[in-house]
Every structure is written in structure tokens, then in C-alpha cells.
Symmetry: C2
């Protein structure tokens, strides 16, 4: 807010008319604006468009002309145990392990666990053809993803086509449905030499440290 016209008039020792003319010049440059009965205020600029970059890896690949492929490695209904049971509950689940390729090159190894009662309609061909989120027929309202780094071990190295002990990004994602109920658990492994995460922080982040970082243990 700016001071009122009459107030400016007294402080600058000029008549209200001249003050007004000056303000109207600024308004023509859309630096300030006024509402009758309210006052003058500095004009807000037309909101810097959020989300400058492509949101999903699929969009990015499509815009780059890269053809995404999926190769199903495992597809099994089983009882949840360990971490899966902790997140989804001690229930029957569908486990799908997939290798994602970009132009024939593997770039992600993904395992998804989904409660069996939500996955009854899914076939092996379904999950090979479409990304998983398109197949869920309940609304997904949010997710939490945790990003860490480890060394690749066992058969994962061969599947991703990298040497044993190469650095990989590991990501666990818990997707929630309405009411904050966890309905999907997925673990992703990315070879570090081909992938990285980009996070835009549109507003002034109150820290220099990378936001979202957490100490474990």
C-alpha cells in the first residue's frame, strides 16, 4: 500500500491533483494501481509461471522422441511381508517387477506392490502396456518419495547393464488415496550415470541446504 493521496499531498507539499497525475503516470506503466475507496498499491507482477520443466519422465522422453518400453520381470500375487506389510498392511498384494527402457537402454528397475483387491482386474499385459497409475481406478491424492543412494548389487546390476558396485539412486514411493490411505508402494533403482532428480523450489527457500534432506537412523 502507498500512503493516501492527501497524505502524499502534505508530505511532498503538492496539491492532490499533481500527486494524482504522478500516480497516474505510474499506473500507465502498470507499476502501481488503485481501487476507489481503498487506496494505491504497488502492482503485483503476473505470477511467474510455476513448473517450467516437464513434470514426468514420460513427458520428457516423449518430447525428446525417446520411445519408452516396459519389460515385465515378475508378476505375482502373494502375502505382504516385511516393509510391504508395514506400509500396506498384512494383506494379499500384487507384486510387479519391471524394467523400464528408453530407446532400448535400461534406465530403471521398478518394483510395485499393490493391494490385491485393487489389482484383481490387472493382467500381465496391462502392466506391460501402461504405466501403473493409469491402471488404478481409484483417485490418487498424493505421494511421498524418499531418495537415497547405494551401490547396486546382485542381479540388478546385470538387468540395468552396469557393473556390480556402481552407484545407483534408490527411490521409495508411497502413493496415497483419499483419506491418506497408502495404496501403492514402489521401489525404484536408477543407474546414477544416467539419471538425476531435479526439484524446483519456486518460493524463497529459507535455507541454503538442499531442501528435503533428512538424516537417517
Amino acid at each position: 500500500m502507498l500512503p493516501s493521496e492527501s497524505e502524499l499531498s502534505t508530505t511532498f507539499d503538492a496539491s492532490r491533483v499533481t500527486i494524482r497525475k504522478a500516480l497516474e503516470v505510474l499506473r500507465d506503466e502498470s507499476l502501481v494501481d488503485a481501487r476507489q475507496g481503498f487506496g494505491w498499491y504497488v502492482a503485483t507482477d503476473p505470477i511467474r509461471q510455476p513448473l517450467g520443466r516437464l513434470a514426468t519422465i514420460e513427458e520428457q522422453m516423449a518430447s525428446d522422441g525417446i520411445k519408452p518400453e516396459r519389460q515385465i520381470l515378475e508378476f505375482a500375487f502373494e502375502r505382504a511381508k516385511g516393509r510391504v506389510a508395514k506400509v500396506l498392511g498384512n494383506i494379499q498384494v500384487l507384486r510387479v517387477k519391471r524394467l523400464n527402457l528408453a530407446d532400448g537402454e535400461p534406465f530403471a528397475l521398478v518394483t510395485v506392490w499393490c493391494p490385491a483387491n485393487l489389482a484383481e482386474h490387472l493382467s500381465r499385459a496391462d502392466v506391460e502396456r501402461s504405466p501403473f497409475y493409469e491402471l488404478m481406478n481409484i483417485p490418487l491424492t498424493g505421494a511421498t518419495q524418499t531418495i537415497g543412494a547405494t551401490l547396486v548389487e546382485g542381479e540388478d546390476a546385470a538387468l540395468l547393464g552396469v557393473p556390480l558396485g556402481s552407484p545407483v539412486l534408490r527411490c521409495e514411493r508411497i502413493t496415497e488415496s483419499e483419506g491418506g490411505k497408502a495404496v501403492l508402494l514402489s521401489q525404484h533403482v536408477f543407474p546414477a550415470h544416467r539419471t538425476e532428480f531435479v526439484v524446483d523450489l519456486p518460493h524463497a527457500a529459507p535455507s541454503m541446504a538442499p531442501s528435503g534432506l533428512r538424516l537417517v537412523e
Copy 2:
């Protein structure tokens, strides 16, 4: 429960109408709610506050009772080159390399580059005492951070107290000032066994794949 509208009216010396308007703003943000004849109360399940978890690593450490320390390894004014010149321009910069410790244990190795004309007032003691963002006297409006994984090499391993070839999270952060101008470049190295990134995606993310992932090269 909150005090009644009339009580707030007297304590804040404002009419009941204005108090009400203020409360209604908070209700729109579903932070509080009211029942007629009952009163105002803080809303349960505050819609998962846009930032459910602690925003910065400093806050997290503080809430855990961990004492953060900083140890300055390098502090030099020099000419920007390579990546730094590309981001900040071919100018004179201040380079600060710091080791961050939590309860005496190293958990981050950070290098910050800052244009010299914005860093003239900074001393080695300053950057040891305070996090960098507190020392900047221009407004920081946003940032982009890129997260990847590599194997730790050279002296970094010794500084972080991990074996050579251990997995680490690498983060580059470009902080912008008004007008989208890059004013800080920082690179962070975190030992993977102690740290991970957590990203909350409050709204339905239109993909199962971890959002923000990007193919490099």
C-alpha cells in the same frame, strides 16, 4: 479451543467483524473451524500443512537436539571458471568449502560460490558461525536443486569419514534472486548411509515414476 470472538475483540482492540474476518481466512485455509454456539477450535488434521515435515535440515537437527557445527576448509576469492562461470558468469567469486557436522559427526561437504560483490562483507568467521543464506542481504526468491549419486573419491572420503568408493548423494543447488538471476551456486556431498531426500507431493502426481527424475546426457 480459541477464545471467543468478543474476547479476541477486546484483547486485540478490534471490532468483532474484523476478528471474524480474520478467523474466516484461517477457516478457508482449514486451520481452524467453528460450530455455532460452541466456539472456534483448531482444525484437526490440518490438511497436511503444505510442508508436513521440517523444512530444513537445521530445523530437523534442532528438534532432535543435535548440535550443528561448521568447519571452514577453504575460503578464497577467485575468478569463476568452468561450471561456476557458466552459472554465475565470468566474474570474481568467493568460494567457501565447508564441512557440516551433526554432534561431531560429519554429514555434509558443501562448497558455495557467491559473486564477490555480494560477499565483500563476509568474513571467515561469519560463514563458520551462520548458514550462508542468513548472511546474504539480498532477497532470495527461489532455487533449483539437482540430486544425483556417485562414488566418493579423493580427500572427500576422508573428510566425511567414509571409505573410498562409498556411495554419496551429490546435490547442486542454484539459488536465484529477484528476476531469476542466479546469485549462489552450491554443491553438496552427503554420505548415502546417513542421509536421504524426502519429497512430499501433496496433490495427485500424474505419474507413478518418481517425480523430478531426469535422464542426463
